[in-house]
Amino acid sequence: MTIELPFPGLTGVPTADGPQNRKEYTSDQEVRWCPGCGDYAVLAAVQGFLPELGLRRENIVFVSGIGCSSRFPYYLDTYGMHSIHGRAPAIATGLATAREDLSVWVVTGDGDALSIGGNHLIHALRRNVNLTILLFNNRIYGLTKGQYSPTSEVGKVTKSTPLGSLDQPFNPVSLALGAEGTFVARTIDSDRKHLTEVLRAAAAHRGTALVEIYQNCPIFNDGAFDAIKGAKDSSAADAIIPLRHGEPVRFGVPDEEGNPTKGIVRDASTGGVAVVDLADVDEGDLVVHDAHADDPTTAFAMSRLTDAGYLHQAPIGIFRQVERPTYDDGARHQVVTARQGTENRQEALASLLYGGDTWTVA
């Protein structure tokens, strides 16, 4: 992934006078997630990455909803708001629209973003508000102690579903693409390098960037992502389908020469894409990943390679990254344009109040 600096997504946000370090971004609050929680890794990655942005720390705001991951803002020494279950995208939309000079981040989880807050998430995506949304997906409700979530696999046995859950889960990437998302990516808590690369690209994006982060809950859903974790040459290599813009999509446990053994081709019978053994196809038949394609069809097809049940296979990387005017830029432009010629607000107010049909009593 190559990122152009400075970050276009952060245009208008004032930059720091000098280099920053991770410590400056660490608040004085004790971190209170369970031992082994994947959230620690994401927090460390974010604290390590924020100094790279070179922004004035006071111009960064983290807004969260409710849930384990939503405690995130307390641990960063920026401005922050720990808001209401599901509503963080709405609150962040108002903040980002009102203030061009802020870098606004939303931290949310699968229950927060996709269940109670599903409406706000899809509308933030369609509006393309300049926000970076980190969706921690552990496929379970943690803070309420272990009920199934809207990303849990069908048949999930939990406290609230002793006979197994019945409802089909959301695929967050498919959902975001369907909601007209302009930047949709997926990464994993345990892969610090990939996580940081995706965060960097997300921050660089102007518009709503949705990053789904697979995150392990060691207490209520331990091992949910085990099949896709592990060394690059292990079976995990068969499970992770890495997406890199401009490159043919290849993956799988390497052969003796260290080359991937599987690839993705178009499937004429479904209109989607399919996994094949590289031995069975020509290199030229492989799908070349195009995150910048206007048409999200192929990105959506890629997202369908994700297991809906227990996770044995999932594409990782940036599915879609396209430019589209943002809601907040447009809203501010309307105000700025309308304001021209209204230097004296009091005079303008008087002329507003005295407008219309008036009469005078002497």
């Binding site: 609050q29 705001v61 209401i84 509503r87 609150i91 203030r99 105000v335």
Partner: protein
Amino acid sequence: MAKQVKQLDRVIIRFAGDSGDGMQLTGDRFTQETASFGNDLSTLPNFPAEIRAPQGTLPGVSSFQVHFADHDILTPGDRPDVLVAMNPAALRANLTDLPKGATIIVDTHDFTKRNLAKAGYDDNPLETEALGEFAVHDLDLTGMTVEAVKEFGLSRKDAARAKNMFALGLVSWMYGRPTDSTITFLERRFAKVPDIRDANVPSFKAGWNFGETTEAFVVQYEIKPAPMATGTYRNITGNLALSYGLIAGAAQSGLDLFLGAYPITPASDVLHELSKHKRFGVTTFQAEDEIAGIGAALGAAFGGALGVTTTSGPGIALKAETIGLGVMTELPLVVVDVQRGGPSTGLPTKTEQSDLLMALFGRNGEAPVPIVAPQSPADCFDAAVEATRIAVTYRTPVMLLSDGYLANGSEPWRIPDVADLPGIDPAFATEPNHTEDDGSKSFWPYQRDAETLARPWAIPGTAGLEHRIGGLEKSDGHGNISYDPANHDLMVRTRQAKVDRIADSLPPLEVDDPSGKAQVLVLGWGSTYGPIGAACRRVRNAGMDVAQLHLRHLNPLPKDLGQIIKGYDAVMVPEMNLGQLSMLLRARFLVDVVGYNQVRGLPLKAAELAAAITGLVESTHDNPSEDTK
């Protein structure tokens, strides 16, 4: 022929027709003519929730009532002196409101068998004795309209649509209204559709000329201008005044205004209006739902804007959790509830005052919210400025309780001098406000102002004041999460105390008791001001004493209220609900107030209320309490 001219001191006219007949426009134009003539006036639009209910049916009837006079009036009037009915349904739906001897002008064109049946008439009331008590003018308004515009080559249907302007012209003649503003209005409004302009302007003139020449109308009426305080006036509806008040409140605070709103009757006009005024630094965000509307407004408030959300009762139900977050995070926020008939979807286009207790208590936990209520359409301006003052000064969500009658009703408004508007200081925090034990400076987001108990408003972008807020309980002062029992008790009481302190900033109440001898007080809030005032005048005109007091602030209640109400032998509280303020007063002051309660979706009627007050005055006079006056 020479017409007779009769002097009247006041008239109530109701224009009624099908939802598609343009009755609201007709009433609005008549109102503008009347306003510019200089009468005092008050209006009551009344329309169905359906955009186009089935044509010709009772549910589809839309009406507009205007009361105007040569003296100061307070209400749109109880019973119309004149009804203009454009079809059988409009006649039938409004007939029971007319007093004996009222004038009825009927467009006979739609009195066909089919339309009569739709309105539930077996026989044509124009041909029976059904209207014997009234002075009926049955005229083919539609036919005359079509005739008047035939030279423009419109289809019969298009031509007939201008019948409302014919009716307006006729009634304008009857009451000697100036016509220039309506002609200018029509020419401007329909500048881009010459066909419609060409139908409307001649119809309007033809209606006037018909009145002037026909022998059917022998009398023209004159209602002299009302004496009014000097100043420049305009006629204004509550929703417009409220919108201007919010713009003024933001301007006086030096803040940009961010409105997050979801369309809902009868509040949508505020969204429409504010969206026209971006040059005042107004951003309007039409959200995906009520929750997002207030959420975005709160987010903008965190960023240093004047956050506003506008809705009606059902929307407040949805916003409750975010109002609670506003209480907890102590951010300024103006929450406008244009109340309508409830519960549930209720009566979307009708008025009610039944959200008072929801505004006060409709949240989880101890979540006090100040409440401000306007008392008349024009007063919505001042109430909105006041709500802004409280929100910004005390860092709190404020509920502004308007209602459907105020929203759509109108009255003359003496336009204030901008220089006289109150200044509001957001006083953003810019410096650390606390010294740590080691002598270093830090920022404590919950360190309070000693006088107001308001916390500092430190907005993102302010270096050195980075902090986190949220819905979890905060420790006093430094604002970190705290589960400490004593701290929670302290914070709950402090949030309440902060709201209570607002009472220190309120002016003394002014009781209206012209004789100074009243033993009965009539106490109200919100849009009942007009009917209560009119009812009290009637009672006084009958030789009795009664005092009137109206509350702008419902939370906190003014400090002198208890003393005042305890000074009367009896206190009546008229409300368009089942006794919500009554309940509060009884609980707070242990005073056995007498409720007068109606939930008919319409403003209280002054005559009925006057009768109730008279009854209370008489019974109190017979049994005065021993320890007072």
